[in-house]
Amino acid sequence: MAEEPATIGDPVLRLSDVGKGFHGTTVLDGVSLDVPQGQFVALTGPSGAGKSTLLRLVNGMHLPDSGTVHTLGENPAACSRSRLRALRARVGFVFQQFGLVGRLSALENVLMGSLATLRLPRYGVMSYPRALRIRAVEHLDRVGLADRRFQRCDTLSGGQQQRVAVARTLLQSPELILADEPVASLDPAASALVLETLKRISVEDGISVVCSLHQIQLALATADRVVALRGGRLVLDEPAAGLTAERLREVYETAGTRDAQAGARDAQAGARDG
């Protein structure tokens, strides 16, 4: 495989004028974005703005209708099956709903991150090489869950499960981590811990992270750079340092009429409930 030597400053991710639609609805419309190595990018925007779609374009789980995607020097749309698999092995993906197998232990779920480097199907912790097991435990330790290694995942709390998922991603030795609303189903304390873990990994290992987030405060506190999508278009792209919560909130509040109506309905519902 032709590994392109990534020079410092070379973008690990480059989207050029990307468009994508499903069943006639446009989800992404002319989005361009460069992410350099080691940067933590928070991807914000209202529900349905295209955040999840954008992340899935990056690792080739969706393919763009127009424009090009370059991930770690590869174009997922032009990759063969095996090349795409090799690319995905280099890109970590963290899901909102964790994507863990609940009946299996934390350790086995982490070990699954190494599947791309193994040839045969695996079932059971002992079917993985010892060296991988040691590394998996180290990564569990890194997310603070080494003592839970043999606990069934469906008995862990939400925050712990998401950290197991992060550890699984780490076992891939990713060069880029994509996180799709990783904290949307977690309570505030667990959210902060998961994001802190991701941030620490990004800083310590120099890995770029693109993380879609709903919570404005968390985005500003964690990210190096904030990107906002609305209606499939990129409407804001600034360093987090100079950005205020008010300015970012405008992205949500000046949302299109449909979204505004939805917001109003939510507010009414809230008032009723309260």
């Binding site: 698999r85 995905r88 197998v101 350790l107 599947l115 193994l118 435990v137 180290e138 891939q172 939510d266």
Partner: protein, 569 residues
């Protein structure tokens, strides 16, 4: 649970701690079951002398028989209609009788029963015994008591169904919220009143579902009751095979298959409607529904918690469309049931003639006469069933992987296999057994092949259904990790699938065991032949011993399956 473990980068630890997971009861049971399945399969192969050569010869003989059956010779339309109608009426009458009898039985057998102490164990014994003895076994007995014809068949269907309906209903009764019953008791209601007014209304939808499901099973069973002379379309099949008229036999098998397929379509449609009804009324929440509501959080409309419709007096229940339909449906169901009972033509003279028969059968049953010969036959049934179920589960797994939308390599193949499986399941086991006996001669080999085919088709359906219900997210996550197709399956899908694989596999074994007991009636090995013979020669003490042995074995396997399933989940 708040986790306060500090998040700190691990120094490259010298000792990573244990890397081998401790043995769990779950892993032990799973391994034990696998070893047992392999051992039983091997033993079965040895017992029936199965080898590649015998299998090839058997297939050869079967192909020759199928050639002799072609082209099928259909009886006239009037005859077909009459036979089908009789089959359906037997099933409806039997199921209806069973439904009526099972309600009090279920309330008595439920843990919540408050009546006399001794009643509950008695009810449970009745449930277990009637469930364990197959319809056909009852049919043989009832033909002896009531003479040839549909009444014996309907009674056999009824007696066997009572146990199953009562058991499932008892589970629902036990789960019902106890507070309304408490409240009714506090008002001074008697126990029967409490059951009828607070528990029955809440279990009624479940009862409807169970009875419909049982009706579905019973129509299939009624199609072969005629083989022992208990009426329905099976009589014609038996006549045709007995007179070596294979073309006619093929024609009748075609009618049975079409009947069962139509039934399948109907039951799928009914089930879909029921589920929609339950979802709408919030009785069950399907994952799909939850997911949709999560996606469009703000799009949901506040469902009208409808107050009284305008113009209806508060004391008047009123007649809206739903109520009219429900009442009309109930009346129509009742009418169909009465017509079916009427059509059985319960002749009083015959019933009084049955009384001495019944007495001689019951007195002849005591004491049960066990013998080594009999136990060997039971063992043969057991081996046939378990071996066929194990091989069938393995074959069914492959077919299920081809069929399930989540795992199929190619969609059109999935559709083809699915249709094929429905057709294969459409033929009753006993018909396969009759065919294999006609092709290969008497013996357990024919029975094994029949059970293998039916177990494979059944297992494939169960497995495919549960594969499609698994959480797709781990598979997606592993695909994003860069795992190969097989790796993503082994790590993301298989572990989720293990409990339902084991549970459904054991269930298939359970069903195969019940079937294997009756296949002997067609001469396909096992204890069924002895049973038929003992009744024909009036050795009721042997019959009683066989019934007891069957009940014990079936109950033991069922208990084993339940225990294993509970520990694996």
């Amino acid at each position: 649970m708040v986790d306060t473990t500090p998040v700190a980068r691990a120094p490259a630890a010298a000792d990573p701690g244990p890397l081998r997971p401790p043995w769990s009861a779950r892993a032990l049971i799973a391994t034990g079951l696998l070893v047992a399945a392999v051992a039983v399969t091997w033993l079965t192969f040895w017992w029936i002398g199965l080898s590649p050569a015998s299998l090839a010869a058997g297939l050869d003989d079967t192909a020759r028989l199928l050639r002799r059956m072609w082209p099928p010779d259909l009886p006239g339309a009037g005859d077909v209609a009459g036979m089908v109608a009789e089959t359906l009426l037997i099933a409806v009458a039997g199921t209806g009788l069973a439904a009526l009898a099972s309600v009090p039985l279920a309330f008595t057998a439920a843990r919540t029963h408050r009546g006399p102490r001794w009643l509950r164990p008695a009810a449970r014994v009745a449930v277990v015994l009637t469930r364990a003895v197959p319809t056909l076994a009852f049919a043989i007995l009832f033909v002896r008591i009531f003479g040839l014809g549909p009444p014996a068949g309907a009674l056999a269907v009824a007696v066997h169904s009572v146990g199953m309906i009562a058991k499932l209903l008892a589970d629902v009764v036990e789960e019902a919220d106890p507070v309304p019953a408490e409240a009714a008791r506090a008002c001074g209601a008697g126990e029967v009143q409490v059951a009828v007014s607070t528990v029955l209304p809440r279990v009624f939808p479940a009862l409807t579902g169970i009875v419909l499901h049982r009706l579905d099973i019973n129509i299939r069973a009624s199609a072969v009751l005629g083989v022992v002379g208990a009426g329905g379309i099976g009589v014609a099949l038996q006549t045709a095979l007995g007179s070596l008229n294979y073309h006619r036999a093929a024609g009748i098998i075609c009618v049975i298959v079409v009947l069962v397929l139509l039934l399948e379509l109907l039951s799928v449609a009914v089930r879909r409607r029921t589920i929609r009804h339950l979802v709408r009324h919030g009785t069950i929440r399907r994952r799909a529904v939850r997911r949709r509501s999560r996606a469009g959080r703000s799009a949901g409309d506040p469902t009208g918690t409808a107050a009284l419709p305008a113009g209806r007096a508060p004391h008047d229940v009123g007649w809206d469309r739903g109520r009219v339909l429900r009442v009309a449906g109930a009346v129509a169901t009742g009418m169909v049931f009465l017509v079916s009972l009427w059509s059985l033509n319960p002749d009083p003279a015959r019933l009084s003639g049955a009384w001495p028969n019944l007495r001689s059968v019951l007195t002849g049953m005591w004491p049960p006469a066990f013998s080594g010969h009999l136990l060997m036959a039971v063992l043969e049934s057991l081996l046939m069933a378990l071996g066929a179920a194990a091989v069938g589960a393995a074959c069914g797994l492959v077919l299920a992987l081809l069929t399930a939308v989540t795992t199929t390599p190619w969609r059109p193949l999935s559709a083809v296999v699915r249709v094929l499986l429905v057709v294969v399941r459409g033929v009753p086991d006993l018909v396969y057994a009759l065919l294999f006996v006609a092709a290969l001669g008497l013996g357990p080999f024919a029975g094994f092949l029949a059970l293998w085919i039916s177990s494979t088709a059944l297992a494939a359906k169960f497995f495919a259904d549960s594969l499609e219900q698994l959480d797709p997210l781990p598979h997606e996550a592993l695909t994003s990790v860069g795992a190969r197709r097989w790796q993503a399956f082994a790590a993301g899908i298989w572990p989720q699938f293990v409990p339902s694989f084991t549970g459904n596999g054991l269930f298939v074994a359970d069903l195969a065991l019940r079937e294997s007991v009756v296949l002997g009636i067609a001469g396909a090995g096992g204890v069924g032949y002895l049973m038929q013979e003992s009744i024909a020669t009036l050795r009721y003490d042997t019959t009683a011993a066989i019934v007891i042995a069957i009940a014990v074995v079936v109950y033991a396997i069922e208990t084993l399956a339940r225990v294993a399933r509970r520990h694996l989940l």
